[in-house]
């Protein structure tokens, strides 16, 4: 379970998130939608503490994962990130072979057992629906894959370290429709084993893949509801306007 309590976030003097509180359940897909710059990616990146890489940022409020505040001093951020995988907007494989890309998380975790790594790489690639396409060229550079394949490779890479939560920051926005639908199918399957939070620009995508949807605007969480209800009968007028395209 992921929870945010009265979260405010600042880039320098600019307040990017305003008093956000919400709960995301296990084994569900939660989608964040909203216009560009509304803070949805910033919010997502709070949960694996990625925003810390940016200088001059400040957070108030609490972010809890399974009841534990992930910003308290005793938390080891690398351990946290091993439990919370992330897939980025643009496919960003490492300049290494396909195999090494997937094995990366295990290797930095200090796993030496070659047999285990091999097995885990295969499982992850199977889970990411990429195994059949790459099983004969694991030694090849990851850059030889197409954009869609690279993104599934990045998903496999995130799965390899067995996280419980996967954060996806517009994972299909740089992909063609066929690759997009493959990623969406994958999200459906992964839901069984993982808690997924996905940021998307594409409202149809949110409607297709998610169980719950949060609508962000100008740093505030306007509405957070079951996806079905959100798209059929939203409670707030802003949501209605955004979904029907009258705004945004």
């Amino acid at each position: 379970m992921i929870e945010a309590k009265n979260v405010n976030f600042y880039y320098g003097n600019f307040q990017a998130l305003k008093d956000i509180s919400m709960v995301m359940d296990d084994h569900t897909v939660t989608a964040f939608i909203g216009p560009s710059g509304c803070g949805k990616s910033t919010f997502l990146r709070l949960f694996n503490r990625m925003n810390e890489l940016i200088a001059n940022t400040r957070l108030t409020g609490e972010c809890l994962v399974n009841g534990e505040n992930i910003y308290q001093k005793s938390i080891d951020v690398t351990e946290l990130r091993k439990k919370i995988g992330m897939v980025f907007q643009k496919p960003n494989p490492f300049p290494q072979s396909i195999f090494e890309n997937v094995a990366y998380g295990l290797r930095v975790d200090g796993v030496k057992d070659k047999h285990f790594i091999k097995q885990r790489v295969e499982e992850s690639l199977v889970s990411a629906a990429l195994w059949n396409e790459v099983k004969d060229k694991l030694k090849k550079s990851a850059f030889e894959l197409s954009g869609g394949q690279q993104q599934r490779l990045c998903i496999a890479r995130a799965l390899a370290i067995s996280p419980s939560i996967i954060l996806m920051d517009e994972p299909a926005s740089a992909l063609d429709p066929i690759s997009t639908s493959k990623i969406e199918d994958l999200i459906h399957v992964l839901k069984k084993d993982y808690t997924i939070v996905i940021v998307t620009h594409n409202m149809q995508q949110a409607a297709r893949v998610s169980d719950k949807t949060g609508f962000f605007m100008l740093g505030t969480l306007i509405e957070y509801n079951d996806t079905r209800k959100m798209f059929l009968n939203p409670e707030k007028e802003e949501t209605q306007n955004y979904i029907t395209g009258r705004f945004g």
Partner: protein
Amino acid sequence: MKRILERIVELLLTISGAITTIVILLIVVFLFREGLGLFQSSNVEKGYCLCVNTENTVLQLTPFQIKQIFDEEIDNWEKLGGPDEEIVVFRFSDSFLDSYSEEELGKNLEFLPEKLGEVIRGTPGIIAYLPVQYQPINQRGVRILQDGKIKLSDFLGGSEWIPTATPSPQFGVLPLILGTLWVSLFAILIALPLGLGVAIYLSELAGEQMRKILKPAIELLAGIPSVVYGFFGLVIIVPLIQKGFHLPVGETAFAGSIILAIMALPTIITVAEDAMQTTPQAMREASLALGANHWQTIYKVIIPYSISGISAAVVLGIGRAIGETMAVLMVTGNAAVIPHSLFEPVRTIPATIAAELGEAPSGGPHYQALFMLGCILFLITLVVSISAEIISKNKSQAKGI
């Protein structure tokens, strides 16, 4: 109007590109043309010849053999494949004239060759070093040694660099090549880890403020004239080495290496740091998001990603080290001997060229040998940059870019 202007600019750019290329090519051609002339020069100093007794079966001598004979390091013809006869060295000098009367020699010394011939005929083991105008031509018992050319093997394999030796100048380039490589190698061994360390620090660890101060400061270091570095080395480093290692002289290969390392550092740091900065933020984030810590991200992602830039830094650093002249000239002691340890004086190729070109007669073998040294320097740097090119190409193929 605008189109014409564009055409003119295009033309100008093309011309400047072409001119630059041609000039560079011409320099290389000139270098090799001058340098290769060395292998047309004779073994023996111009205007002189070597004569032996006809009983002697040795037909030709290498420059090094000639030197050994005249230094009396070889004292028997047997060692050179001739008869078992002690070598008698004869250098023509004015005192030779004193033992004859003016009548015997003739007014214009026209009988001198004959007298020289007599001496040679009478001494089976003789080797006589004579001016060409007095050589005893067509005399019984006298053979003028065949005039050998300087060979590539003498040049590359020779272990003595004494361009002013008589009768046969020694152009053995081995001590100079080894001196250059020795000094450069250790300079790079010092500068590389240090430079990459600073580059990593600047790129990944230093705060914004620190970067803003350090980077321009380091870039400034690259602009300091090398003679200033040399001066610094001479005043500070040389005495330190002399005292620290209890050496008779502080001007050693080690001093040169340290100075070169200091000089190569700014180049290595700035180029490598720039390369690391080009690693996309997405790549760092991907690594950190997988639970890698900062160090793992640096050596598993950032360094592999920027490897072509880093190898460029290495090549530029090595290039600077190999080609550097002034500072090395000032601190290495300039002894053209094959170095056996870091703590001996050495002499590098560029230092030799700089020090000797002024006193080498234009067009002579010494002059040509110095050009040949330039060619060797050129080839060394060529090999270094080609290998770096190959390395970075392999790496970037793995990278897919």
